[in-house]
Subunit: 376 residues, 4 copies
C-alpha cells in the first residue's frame, strides 16, 4: 500500500518512494518467473543491467551515507524504501542493500582502516564484489552469540583461524568473509571474539558446500554455505576494529539490521496481501460468486490489513527512535519487533496461500517460496 | 508507560499528560477499593470533589473545544490523555469525558439549536447533569443500526414515541436521553430515523429497570437500562439536527468515538500490564524464585508489550488521520482498530489475571471486572 | 450432545445417562433464573427438594461405591454423567457430587477411621452437612503445594493449628474443614504436611469473611472464604491418614478430581455450544438473514464442535486409563487434560457470548457467569 | 508413540502394529537421506526391494480385503497402521497403500467390471503399475467438485474426452488415470459427471509437464502433473460404475480417504514431535543448559502432546463410526477432522522446526519438506 496520507514526509521523498515502487513493480517483479526456472548465478547478467538502471536513477545504496556514494537516508526513511524493495526477493539485491553486504558495509565504514576501505569497502559499494558474514556454527547455538568455538591464534603477525561455520549466507561467489573468531579466550565472554576479514581465496578457507534447503543447494547470493577454516592464515592487519570487540560491534549492528529485515518482511506481507486480494476478487467459487464473497476471506483480509499496518507503525517508530536516540535507548523496541513482525508474516502468508488453493503451492507465485523460508 | 521519547509533542503538552497521569494515580486509582465495596451512586459526592480538582487544574472536558469550556485538544492529543484516564474505570468520569455524555456533547455542539444548547448542553458541560443515548433494541441487531423498531410519529407539533430500548447505558440518573426513532418509515433505510431529545422526566419514558450483569444491576452512571417508550410525547423542537438524518449523525460520531474507546482500552491494557509486572517480580514461586523467573511469564510480558505498543501506534495514527483528513478518508483505519484493539485487550487481561492466580479473580484488583466487561 | 452412537456403553447405562440428562434439563436448568435473582443460601430449600428426587431416581452420589450408598460408577462412566450435570452450575450440587465434598468423601472413604466415617462421612454422604478443603494460602503459591506456612503443633494429645488460608471454597455453612498443615517441618518437603479434620465450630477457626468476586461475596456453597487459624485446637484423633502424608493423599486425589472438573467443563462447553446454535438460527441480522447465515458463525460452530469432541475423547480416554492402570500410569494424560480443556472452554464460551451480542453479558444466560469464573 | 496401554486391541494386532513400526524405523526412515539427494524415480529399485520384504512379512495392502490379497483390516485398525507408515513420506508407498492408488483400488473393487479388475486392478494390487486420479481443474475451484469443465461425449461406442486438468498427482509414470468428466450436462449438477478409465498411453492424453513446486518438478509418484485431454478416445467399456454417478462414488470414498490422510498427518506430527524432543534434550544453549530446560520448549512439548493425542482419538473415533454405522451416519465427524488435524499438524511442525533452529530448514530432517507441503 502506498499511502497518499504520508504527508509528514517531504514531497520530494514521497516522489522517491513512489518511483522506487514503480521500479520494483515494472523492472524487478517480472524477473521472478525467470528466477524460478533458472539459478541465481545464471541471472547475474540481467540483474547487473537492472543495477545500472538503479544507479542512473540515483537510488543506488539507499541505506549508505552520501559521502560513500549512497542516498544518505535516515533509518526511518530507509524503512519506507526497504518495504517496497521487499515486494520481491530480488529487490534489495538490485539496489545493493541486500544482507549480508549491507551490514558488512556498515561495519567497514564504522571500523575499517583506510586500507581495508580501499580493498574491501569500495568494490562492495560499487557492486563489483560480494561478501559474507561467517558467525553461526553448527555446534553452538545461534541464539547465544557469545559462544563460539572457532579460534584465531596470533602468530608472527598473522591470525591463524581454525573452526567450522555453517549457514554462512551468500558465501558462494563472495570475495571475502567477515569471520567471528575467538582471539582472547581468557577474557570475559563478551570480550573474547574479534572480527577478521578473510578473502575467500585464502588457503584454508574451505567452502564445504551449499546446504540443501528444500531439495536445492541454491547458488551465489541465493545460498547458505558450510565453511571449514583449516589453519586459514591472514595478516593481523585484517583485524576489523579492536581485538575482542566483535560482540560489541555486532550488537551495534543489530538495531539497524533488524529494521532492514522487518521492513523487508512487511514488504513481503504487503505483496502477499495484494496477491490475496487479487485472487479473492477474481476467483469464482460458483458460477455467480467469488472467493471475496465469503466472510472467512473478508475476515482474513481485514485481519491481515490491521496486522500489517500496526506492525509497520511499530517498526517505523523503532527506526525513528534509533535515528533520534540511538540503539541503546531503543533496545526494548528493537527486541519487540522481531518476533512480532515474524508472527505477522507467517499468518499473512498462510492466509494468502490458502486463498490461492493449489496454485499457492506452485512456483507461479512467490508465496510458497516465502513460506518455506519463514524459519531461516 | 509514559514515554520519555515522545519528543514530537510540545514540551507543554507533555507536561499536561504527565500531570494528568499523576492525578489518575494519586487521586483516582485509590478510589477503586471504595467503589468495589459500595455503589456508584454512593460515590457521587467524593467523585464530585475530584471533579472540582480537575476543573481547578484546567483539565476539565479535555475533548471539547475551548469556546465551550474544554481544553481544545485535537483528537490525537486527546488520545494520549484518554489512555491515562483509562487506567481506572473512573478516569473519564472524573474529567467529564465519559461515554455516552462525551458523544452527546459533540452531537449537541454540532447539531443543537441555541435553545437545546442552553437547556441540555450547558449543564452537561458543567457536569451538573448526565445524559444517555437510547439506540439499541432487544429485537433488532445492534450490528445493523438501520434496523429500528421504535417509532416517533408527528402529531400536533409533537413527536409521540413508542418502542422498546435496552442497554441504554447510564440512563439511571440521567436528565435526558437522545433517542433514535423512525420518523420517516417510507424513506430509504439510511434516511428513516431521527434523533430526538427526551427528558427522562417525560411521561411515557419508562425505565423498566437496570439489566443485571454479573449478578448486579449497578446504579447511576454504572448501569444499563431497559426503557419502554409508551406514547412518550415531546415537542417537535426537540428534534436534533435534520429529520431522517440520525444515521448520518451517528456515523460521523463513530470515528472519534472509536478513538475514545480504543485509547481507553489501551489504558486498561497498560494498567493490566503494570499489575502483571509488579506481581511477577514480587510473587515467589519457590523460596528462591519469582514468577518473573519463568520463561512463560517473560514471554507474556514481551508479547503484551509488543501488542500494546503496536495497537497504540495504530490508534494514534488513525486519530491523526481523522484530524487531518476527516472521518470519511479514514474509514478503513477506523474499521480496523476496533477488533484489533479489542483482541489485544482480551489477551493482555487474560495473561495478567493468570499471573495473579486466585487473587486475579477477586475484587482486590480491577482485572476481573474488566475481564467480565470484555463483551460489553 | 447425547450421542446415539455410544453403543459400547451398555443399554442400561445409556438409559441412565439419558434420564440424568432429562432431569438436568427439566428440573435443574429452570432454577438458574431464580439463582440469579437470589443467593445460594436462599435456594437451599428448593435444592433440597430436587435432591430428594435424585435419591428416589437412584442417581444419588453417582461417583461413590455402592457399599457407601452411591451408584458405584467407574471413573469413565462417571465422566459421562458429570458432563450432563455440568450443563448447569447447580447440577453437581443436586446429585451430591460437588467439589470439594466429592473429594473429601473420597479421602474419608480411603483414609478415615471408623469414628471419622461415622461423624463426618456419613452425614456428608447423606447430604445433611457440607465440608470444605482448606489448603491454599495467600502468601504461598497454589502451584507449589509443598510450600505451606500453616502449622499444626502437637501438644497434650491435640493439634494446635495456626495460619491463614484463603479461597477455602464453600467454607461458609460447612460443618467441617479438612486442613492441610505442616506437622513435621524437619522432614523432606513432600513429607511435612498432614490432613486434619477441623469442625468449623472449633474455637480458633475464624472465618474472616467471603472474598468478593465480581462485586459479590456469594454465600454458602457458592463462596470462597478467608480463614484464620488462631490456636485452633483439635484432638489428635482428627488426623486423617498418616502424619506427613497429606501431599501423597492429595496427589492421589488429583487424577480423579481432574476428570470430574474436566467433564464438568465439557458440560459447560456443550451448554454454551447449544445456546450458541439456538441463538444463531433464531436471531435475524437483516429482515431475511439469520446469524447462522454468516460464515464466521458457521466457522465458530464447526471449530467448537471439533474442539469439544476431541477434548471429551481425551478426558474419557484418561478416565479409562485411570480405571484400568491407576493414577500413576496415567500421570502424563492427567497433566495434559487440564490446560487443554481449560483453553477449549475459554474459546467456546467467548464465541457463544459474542454470538449473543449484548444479551451474552446479561444474567439472562449463564454464559457471562461462566466466563467470569474461567480463572478460578 | 506406541502406547503400551492399547489393551482393547487384540494381542495379535498389537504385535502387528509393533512390527510395522519397527519396519518403518529400520527399513524406511534410513532411506530418507538418499531420497533428498536423488529423485523419486531413481529410488524405484531400492523401494521395490522394500516392497518385497513387506509382502514376505504379510503386511502388503493393509487397507484391502483379504479376498483381494490385502490384510483385511477395518478402517479403525488401518488407522493405527497408517499412523506408523506416516512417520516417513515413503511409508505408504512401500506398503502399496499410497494415495491416489489406494482410493483407485477401492473404487475398482466396488465398481469395476470383471474385465476392468483384470486389466487395471490386479496389476495395481500387485504393485506392478501405478495410477492417478484426474479431477482438479485449473479453472474450477477444487472446493466445488460439482463444477467441472472437462467433457466426455459419447460417439460410436467411445467416450471422447476434452479438457484440462492439473494437480493430477503421480500421473508421471502412471499406467492409467481415472478421469472425472461431464457426460450428462443436462442433468442435475450432482448427476453430470462420470468416472472413466483412461490408459495414459491413449492418444490425446497429453501430460503437459509436472508443476514446479518449491523449485522442483519432482518425478514419478512424487509429482503433480498438468494434463490436456485432446479428443482423447476410449471405449465405452472404460466407464467406471454407472454414468452420471461420479460424484456419488467420490463422496463415498471421501470418508475412508480422510481417515487415511488424517492418520498419515498424525504420523508426521508424531515424527516431528519425536525429533523435537530429541533435539531439545541434546542441544545445549549454554555450556550447562539444554533447550529442554527452557519453559517455552516445555510448553511446546506439552501442548503438542495434548493436541496430537486428542486429534488421534478424534480420527480413530471417526474411523470406528464409519466401520460401524457407515459414511453417511458419520458425515459430521468426517467433516470435522480435516481442518482440525491440519491445524494441529501446522502447529506441531512449526514448533519442531523452531526447536531445530537453522538445522530445521535444511534437508537434514524431513521437517522443512513437510512444512512446505502443508497447503497441498
Amino acid at each position: 500500500m502506498f499511502d497518499e496520507h504520508w504527508d509528514w514526509l517531504s514531497h520530494e521523498f514521497r516522489q522517491t518512494i513512489s518511483s522506487i515502487k514503480d521500479f520494483v513493480y515494472q523492472e524487478i517483479i517480472p524477473l521472478e518467473t525467470e528466477l524460478r526456472n533458472t539459478s541465481f548465478r545464471e541471472m547475474l547478467p540481467v540483474l547487473d543491467k537492472k543495477r545500472e538502471l538503479v544507479k542512473e536513477l540515483g537510488f543506488w545504496l539507499p541505506q549508505i551515507p552520501k559521502e560513500y556514494g549512497g542516498m544518505g537516508l535516515s533509518l526511518q526513511e530507509y524503512g519506507y524504501v526497504s518495504e517496497f524493495l521487499g515486494r520481491s526477493s530480488l529487490g534489495h539485491y538490485v539496489f545493493n542493500c541486500q544482507a549480508p553486504d549491507a551490514g558488512n558495509m556498515e561495519i567497514l565504514i564504522e571500523h575499517g582502516t583506510d586500507d581495508q576501505k580501499t580493498r574491501f569497502l569500495e568494490p562492495l559499494l560499487a557492486g563489483k564484489i560480494r561478501s559474507c558474514f561467517s558467525m553461526t556454527e553448527p555446534d553452538a547455538p545461534g541464539s547465544n552469540p557469545t559462544w563460539l568455538n572457532t579460534k584465531a591464534s596470533k602468530e608472527n603477525g598473522n591470525y591463524i583461524i581454525n573452526g567450522r561455520k555453517w549457514f554462512t549466507s551468500a558465501a558462494d561467489g563472495a570475495e571475502f568473509a567477515i569471520v567471528m573468531a575467538v582471539t582472547n579466550p581468557e577474557q570475559d565472554k563478551h570480550k573474547r571474539a574479534s572480527m577478521i576479514i578473510v578473502p575467500t581465496s585464502t588457503s584454508g578457507f574451505n567452502n564445504i558446500g551449499n546446504i540443501p534447503v528444500m531439495g536445492s543447494q541454491g547458488s551465489d547470493w541465493g545460498s547458505h554455505s558450510e565453511i571449514k577454516y583449516d589453519n586459514c592464515t591472514v595478516p593481523e592487519t585484517n583485524l576489523l576494529g579492536i581485538e575482542g570487540e566483535a560482540f560489541t560491534i555486532a550488537q551495534n549492528r543489530l538495531g539497524p539490521g533488524r529494521i532492514h529485515h522487518c521492513m523487508r518482511w512487511i514488504g513481503i506481507a504487503e505483496r502477499a496481501f495484494e496477491l490475496m486480494c487479487e485472487r479473492a476478487v477474481s476467483r469464482r467459487i460458483t458460477r455467480t460468486a467469488f472467493l471475496a464473497d465469503q466472510q472467512t476471506i473478508q475476515n482474513w483480509v481485514a485481519e491481515s490489513r490491521a496486522e500489517i499496518n500496526s506492525n509497520r507503525l511499530m517498526v517505523l517508530d523503532t527506526a525513528m527512535k534509533i535515528d533520534k536516540f540511538g540503539t541503546y535507548a531503543s533496545r526494548r523496541e528493537i527486541s519487540l519487533i522481531k518476533f512480532q513482525v515474524a508472527n505477522m508474516l507467517q499468518k499473512v502468508l498462510d492466509r494468502s496461500i490458502q486463498v490461492h488453493g493449489a496454485l499457492g503451492m506452485t512456483d507461479h507465485t512467490p508465496l510458497a517460496y516465502w513460506f518455506s523460508q519463514l524459519h531461516v
